[in-house]
């Protein structure tokens, strides 16, 4: 691996770890959003990739025309109502 790429990966990993920590500290308390406040979070517009077939088709089309792949994220949302 070129040194510049290795340095970029290392920096990116640190940024990701910090972002993860901030997100966890910001809202992982069990009362951050109460169950009776999750009406809007449960809506399809708040789900990541509500249409799995569209997400798969997009990945297929775009990854065949761009050098990057992956990092589209996983589906679902944070409503915790499943």
């Amino acid at each position: 691996m070129p040194r510049s790429t290795a340095v970029a990966w290392s920096s990116s990993s640190k940024l990701f770890a910090v972002a993860l920590l901030v997100a966890a500290l910001a809202g992982c308390g069990r009362f951050a959003v109460r169950p009776n406040e999750k009406e809007h979070l449960a809506d399809r517009t708040m789900q990541f990739d509500p249409d799995g077939q569209e997400a798969a088709s997009d990945d297929h089309v775009l990854s065949n025309r761009e050098g990057s792949s992956g990092g589209k994220g996983s589906g679902g949302g944070g409503c915790g109502c499943n």
């Binding site: 966890a24 999750k38 799995g52 297929h60 065949n64 792949s69 994220g73 589906g75 944070g78 409503c79």
Partner: protein, 414 residues
């Protein structure tokens, strides 16, 4: 290989979404790309992509899923990146016509507990020159309060790609595969001209999804992939210092992507906003940034409209050079490519989607049978811009999109 089945690795990470109901989901997508060079009377590449997925509950906690998809392709290939006529400086030759089909079958088993989900799946895909077996597994868990979800997923591909049997030829002596060469012929068969290379792909992804407020949710994630095996396009040739040789790419590629996604609801406006950001880097030197925005608007109780825009830009792979430079000066290392995916480029996507939604209520089931119906139509365009002087596949200019995507889908839950 033309259709690159290896992408299954990315696709099977999706099924961690919990699907609580029996469901049938079907979509047909038409993709068309304009080509820079005419091939006979065909100046486009057309792909028809049917998808069919079925989900069945097996008791309270388990569910079974199965699916089928295909790519039916016809049209012009990318304009080739080699063999300029004698005395010409134009290193892009005309496209040729081809037809191909890719088919994929998949099945999976899911377990859903009170706060956790597990998934295991298998997919098999085949086309004329590429075979793929992939196994995948994933898990996700909600922390108490169900405001934080951690997810992990892993996929391994056991793939095979067809190639012309070049024996022990050096890279510059290697010749490309052609459509006339029969692939996956048993060893020892008379007249066999091809061999197959193994390609192993390991893909893993970790995500954390966090509710920030009753109207905001974010997801952060990390995706890594290692591809080990033959990754050149076996059909593609590159003119290197006067020699037409098969494209040569490194055998190992490591990829890493970091991403952040957010959704914000505007209840009074019956609307929502989505924003996705991805940074990507790989060991071939391709770095990219992707930004995507979505706006959702309910019109009445049953119509949902979405506008989407996406901006993507990447740098070139370290061994990518313009066709003219390869032709005149040769390659600077052991590798040379005519792959536009490895060239510097920018893509802009814009389009809309309209969904008709019907949900069972106190008045009864939808059409007397279903809990939910989702019928949708999507139309999007992609404007591609090459950021190099001699684009590998030529240049399609004008205000019209270089690629269009139109899809029609129906999801039924019961």
């Amino acid at each position: 290989m033309r259709l690159q089945l290896s992408l299954i690795a990315a696709l099977v990470l999706v099924p961690l979404v919990a699907r609580a109901d029996d469901r049938v989901d079907t979509t047909i997508t038409w993709f068309q790309e304009r080509r820079a060079e005419a091939a006979g009377d065909k100046t486009t590449l057309d792909v028809y992509h049917p998808q069919f997925d079925l989900g069945i509950d097996l008791g309270e906690s388990f569910s079974l899923s199965a699916g089928y998809e295909a790519d039916i392709v016809s049209g012009a290939t990318e304009s080739l990146y080699a063999a300029p006529p004698a005395g010409s400086v134009d290193a892009v030759s005309s496209a040729t016509l081809f037809d191909d089909a890719r088919q994929v079958g998949k099945a999976g088993l899911s377990f859903q507990g009170r706060r956790s989900r597990l998934y295991a799946g298998y997919a098999y895909g085949f086309e004329r020159d590429y075979l793929s077996h992939s196994v995948s597994a994933g898990a996700s868990i909600d922390l108490p309060g169900k405001n934080t979800t951690f997810g992990v997923a892993y996929t391994h591909n056991f793939d095979q790609v067809c190639d012309l049997d070049n024996g022990n030829a050096s890279p510059l002596e290697r010749r490309p595969l052609t459509g006339a060469n029969e692939c996956f012929v048993a060893a020892g068969t008379m007249g066999r001209t091809t061999i197959s290379h193994d390609v192993a792909i390991d893909t893993t992804e970790a995500t954390v999804t966090q509710n920030l407020s009753p109207t905001a949710v974010i997801q952060l994630g990390l995706n890594g992939q290692v591809v080990n095996g033959f990754q050149s396009n076996p059909y593609r040739r590159v003119r290197v210092g006067g020699i037409d040789a098969q494209e040569a790419s490194p055998l190992v590629r490591g990829r890493l992507a970091l991403f952040a996604r957010a959704r914000l609801a505007f209840p009074r406006a019956h609307a929502a906003l989505g924003a996705d950001l991805r940074g990507y880097s790989d060991t071939w030197g391709v770095d990219s940034l992707t930004a995507e925005m979505e706006y959702f608007q309910y019109l009445g109780g049953k119509i949902l409209f979405r506008l989407r825009t996406r901006l993507y830009q990447q740098t070139k792979a370290v061994f990518f050079e313009d066709a003219i430079d390869y032709a005149n000066f040769g390659s600077t290392g052991a590798f040379f490519t005519g792959d536009r995916e490895l060239s510097p480029l920018r893509n802009v996507l814009f389009g809309g989607k309209m969904s008709y939604l019907a949900v069972a209520d106190d008045a009864g089931q939808v059409w007397g049978l279903f809990d939910e119906i989702d019928f949708h139509l999507r139309a999007e365009g992609i404007w591609a811009q090459s950021l190099t002087d001699t684009p590998p596949d030529g240049d399609v200019s004008g205000p019209l999109p270089d690629m269009i995507i139109v899809s029609l889908g129906l999801l039924m839950r019961y």
